[in-house]
Amino acid sequence: MNTADNIFLNLKLIMANLLKTDLQEINQLATLNSKLRDDLGIDSVESLDFLASIEKTYSIQISDKEATKLERVSDAIDLILGKIKECGQ
């Protein structure tokens, strides 16, 4: 079941993989309110890999316009939930 909690956990796993660290470290850094760039270090280069990983995990497509609106972890969760709903997953 793709709940907000499950998606948050998956996002943390994706971030841990991207930043080459463990979930424990990411748990200390990431809250729903964390800024992807400033708090989690997902800068413009890293965000390309971050978005590709989300698309692969959830079999969704994120447009450039949608990507530019992602500022916080909660924005990413909302976007994924919305996309899943659209696809009827």
Partner: protein, 406 residues
């Protein structure tokens, strides 16, 4: 930087070559026929790159340069977009292997700005490669291609199960070439590697991988990046590998970046730049003193300078030397066997038929890196000559930098 540095010896692409590549990409019914008839051979390897700036495009396509006199630059560039990419050079390699250097016409910023555009372009490039390859061929990704394709994953997603083309992101040979170059350079300047203070500028995939290779071998490691979190995590990861070593992390901010880098260069014997920038980090070569920099960034992050008087050398990074390789175009450091690490990865994969060295997609595989280094040792493949743009730096000149006090 002098523009002639970029365009010196660059092979120019005529109108008929342009037309050939447009036909190959735009007329699917005749694709295989067109490529077999119009191309001299089916390649064993391809090196995919892109222009560093718009001047690169105008230097490569003279007829587009002519159009520039009558139309705005963007119109001329739109005409080039009739094909996703163009064959810009031919490469001969050992064992009768042959390949092409293929370039898209998008600039780094275009590739970076839109994932949608880039993903479409990747799909079109893969179709182009399939059209020109009648047998297995390795595609090495250069410059910004690994960054914008999730380390090659976006290309892999476009491949079929038994595809003739195999993608590799070039990280393995690039890292091997930088590591081997550091080992050789420290010898030439009479500095035991175990005493060396090495600064890595850019803590991404190649910078992080280099840190992991060096952490148990050098005295002091410095890491510079804009991304504080990445620095913190990389430092922690490296300290697990070696608790004794001093690791200095320096987070850059955009306002003081130049000064911070200039200051830090004074504290380290050798700096290696692996950043993915589009502009120079240091714009004025005369600011550089008392430092040796291996610059692997493409486009270049440091202006090229070699001056024994001021004890400064900015050397091309990531070069490999494969005996017998000949290119019919000069990309800035000659047409002989000194080639980009990522091109050498595609050639090595085509040479390494026993299958130990594998194409790399995604994260760097250390075991694969070791196999590649073994293969290089067995086949007399070495790190490239120490070059500062066109100029090969002699050992005696390098030795003149050996008295750098840090």
């Amino acid at each position: 930087m002098d523009q002639s540095y970029y365009s010196h010896g660059r092979k120019q692409i005529g109108f008929f070559s342009f037309l050939r590549d447009v036909l190959i990409s735009k007329v699917p019914v005749f694709q295989k026929f067109t490529s077999r008839v119009l191309l001299p051979y089916s390649p064993d390897f391809i090196f995919l790159t892109h222009p560093r700036n718009s001047e690169d495009i105008f230097a490569t396509f003279p007829f587009i340069r002519l159009l520039r006199k009558f139309f705005p630059d963007n119109v001329a560039r739109k005409i080039l977009k009739l094909s996703p990419c163009y064959i810009v050079a031919q490469v001969k390699a050992p064992r009768g292997l042959r390949g092409y250097i293929v370039s898209a016409v998008e600039l780094p910023n275009d590739l970076f700005a839109s994932r949608e555009l880039t993903n479409k372009l990747i799909l079109s490039c893969v179709d182009f490669f399939r059209a020109i390859c009648n047998k297995k061929a390795y595609i090495g990704l250069a410059a910004w291609w690994p960054i914008v394709s999730n380390s090659g994953q976006a290309f892999k997603n476009c491949l079929q199960k038994e595809d003739v083309i195999k993608i590799t992101n070039g990280h393995t040979a690039t890292l091997a070439s930088i590591y081997l170059s550091i080992c050789e350079l420290t010898q030439k300047i009479n500095l035991p590697l175990s005493n060396a203070k090495i600064l890595i500028i850019g803590a991404g995939k190649v910078g992080g991988g280099l840190g992991a290779l060096l952490v148990n071998k050098v005295a002091v490691l410095g890491l510079i990046d804009k991304n504080k979190i990445r620095l913190k995590i990389l430092k922690k990861e490296l300290e697990i590998k070696n608790k004794e070593i001093a690791i200095d992390t320096i987070a850059l901010d955009e306002f003081t970046a130049e000064k911070t880098i200039l200051d830090k260069l004074q504290q380290y014997h050798l700096a290696v730049c692996t950043t993915s920038n589009t502009d120079l980090l240091i714009s004025d070569a005369s600011q550089l003193r008392n430092c040796i920099i291996i610059d692997d960034s493409r486009p270049e992050a440091f202006p090229r300078i070699f001056s024994p008087e001021f004890k400064v050398a900015v050397l091309e990074g990531g070069l490999m030397k494969i005996p017998g390789v000949v290119m019919d175009s000069d990309f800035g450091f000659g047409q002989n066997d000194n080639i980009f690490g990522c091109l050498s990865e595609a050639i090595i994969l085509a040479m390494a038929t026993e299958g130990k060295v594998k194409p790399n997609i995604g994260e760097l595989d250390v075991e694969n890196l070791m196999h590649l280094i073994d293969f290089c040792n067995q086949n007399k493949i070495q790190p490239g000559d120490f070059k500062c743009a066109q100029r090969t730096i002699k050992d005696s000149d390098l030795a003149s930098l050996s008295s750098l006090e840090k």
